[in-house]
């Protein structure tokens, strides 16, 4: 066996405290019962244990340092670790297979353990049908508001899929029992439908919020106005405050889509974009010439671009 100090990873001058800390760290890492199935830790744990039992006692440490005892002294009797009993099926009272605890994992497998698992013994093996996957493309608004969508399955059957409001891109919906049929009276598999959402002409979506860039006229922006704004649930009236600017963002509370985790509705954010008249207007040009002389301002400087 190698040097006891290097087994613990400490120097020969380590204090009792340093020895203890090194030993605790290694014990936590190497204890066989905390590493079921790892055969290599047991030998290392034994070595570490033995090294510490020699070095933690000042008397035996002194003798070891003086070369009076070698590193293999004080062999401890071998012992059984808990893991060897636990893995051999003993100690079932501590961790017997609890069908209820695993219900979430096994509920759709063989109808759950403990219920009828034995019933199939000696007959055709019960084998749940395989799962199948599909993809479906849906409109932006169908995903936002929810919809029923008819899709054709591999076997030619059609099935109506309920797309819940707030469905996200690449979300997978499970159609229970719509996969391949099972064997021996077992359940059919499930069909998984991955949803892909087509982008919208003017709405975009971030989580449960909807974003929209809304063009407004110069006079609406300067003077303020009450205007009609499209939302995912139809047009609503919105007040544009006087002096609104390009980039000003207004919030329409509760006009987003449903957050599937919390069940709450998001908001719609309306980002204004001031748009000048399409054709140059002589009167506006004249007004700007005279107004601009006395009201110079530099938005680029304010934006830090200069």
């Amino acid at each position: 066996m190698s040097d006891l100090y290097s087994t613990l990873g400490v120097s020969r001058t380590a204090t009792a405290d340093e020895l203890k800390r090194a030993y605790r760290k290694l014990a936590k890492e190497l204890h066989p019962d905390l590493n079921p199935g790892d055969k290599t830790v047991e030998q290392r744990f034994k070595e570490v244990n033995q090294a510490y039992s020699v070095l933690s006692d000042p008397e035996t440490r002194k003798r070891y340092d003086a070369g009076e005892i070698d590193s293999s002294g004080q062999e401890r009797p071998s012992r059984g670790f808990y893991r060897s009993y636990a893995d051999a099926g003993m100690g079932g009272k501590y961790h017997g297979f609890d069908a209820e605890a695993a219900e979430d994992i096994f509920s759709d497998l063989f109808g759950g353990f403990g219920r009828g698992r034995r019933a199939g013994a000696g007959r055709t093996p019960r084998q749940r049908g395989a799962d199948v996957s599909y993809t479906v493309r849906i409109d932006f608004l169908e995903a936002v508001n929810g919809a029923r969508k008819r899709i054709q399955l591999a076997d030619g059957k059609t099935v109506d899929v309920n797309i819940p409001a707030g469905t996200r891109e690449a979300q997978t919906l499970r159609l229970k029992g719509q996969g391949l049929p099972g064997l021996g009276g077992a359940d059919a598999g499930d069909a998984y439908v991955e949803v892909h959402i087509e982008p919208h002409r003017f709405f975009t979506r971030k989580d449960s919020d909807i974003h929209l860039e809304l063009p407004v006229s110069l006079q609406e922006a300067v003077l303020g106005a009450s205007i009609s704004v499209p939302t995912v649930s139809g047009p609503v009236s919105m007040k544009v405050p006087a002096g609104a600017n390009s980039g000003t963002t207004l919030r329409l509370k509760g006009r987003g889509t449903v957050d599937q985790k919390t069940g709450e509705r998001g908001d719609q954010y309306v980002k204004l974009k001031v748009v000048l008249p399409e054709k140059p207007d002589a009167e506006l040009t004249r007004f700007m010439e005279s107004w601009g002389k006395d009201h110079a301002y530099d938005p680029r400087k304010k934006a830090g671009l200069l």
């Binding site: 012992r79 636990a86 501590y94």
Partner: protein, 115 residues
């Protein structure tokens, strides 16, 4: 395998070089960390109980796990060993499957486990 009385289990553990008091074992039993057979007012420990006592001793003494944390660790370990048993059962069941089902199962598993 013979069951050990409280005194016998304490002696057997000491013989393996692990220092322990009888009152400690009684404390473990009272807190249901160890569940020996209880008959006619006496406790009887099997090998698994004994190994579990040694584990608890080492958790507390060698790893400085305090008494508040011991049941947390035991609970997680019990779940871990329970899962290992379940996995063992599943492995045995898979071995009994027809070869093509078995290979489909193994393929599916190695895909999802990224091997």
């Amino acid at each position: 395998m013979a069951l050990l009385s409280l005194v016998e289990v304490v002696t057997a553990i000491r013989d393996e070089g692990i220092e322990i008091q009888q009152t400690e074992v009684e404390g473990f039993v009272q807190q249901d960390w160890v569940i020996p057979l209880h008959e006619e007012g006496a406790y009887f420990f099997d090998e698994a109980d004994k190994a579990r006592i040694e584990l608890i001793i080492e958790l507390r003494r060698d790893m400085a796990i305090n008494d508040e944390a011991v049941p947390v660790i035991l609970n997680l370990l019990d779940q871990l060993y329970g899962l290992r048993r379940t996995l063992g059962e599943i492995r045995d069941a898979v071995r009994e499957l027809p070869p093509d089902w078995r290979s489909a199962f193994e393929k599916r598993l190695s895909n999802s486990l990224g091997e």
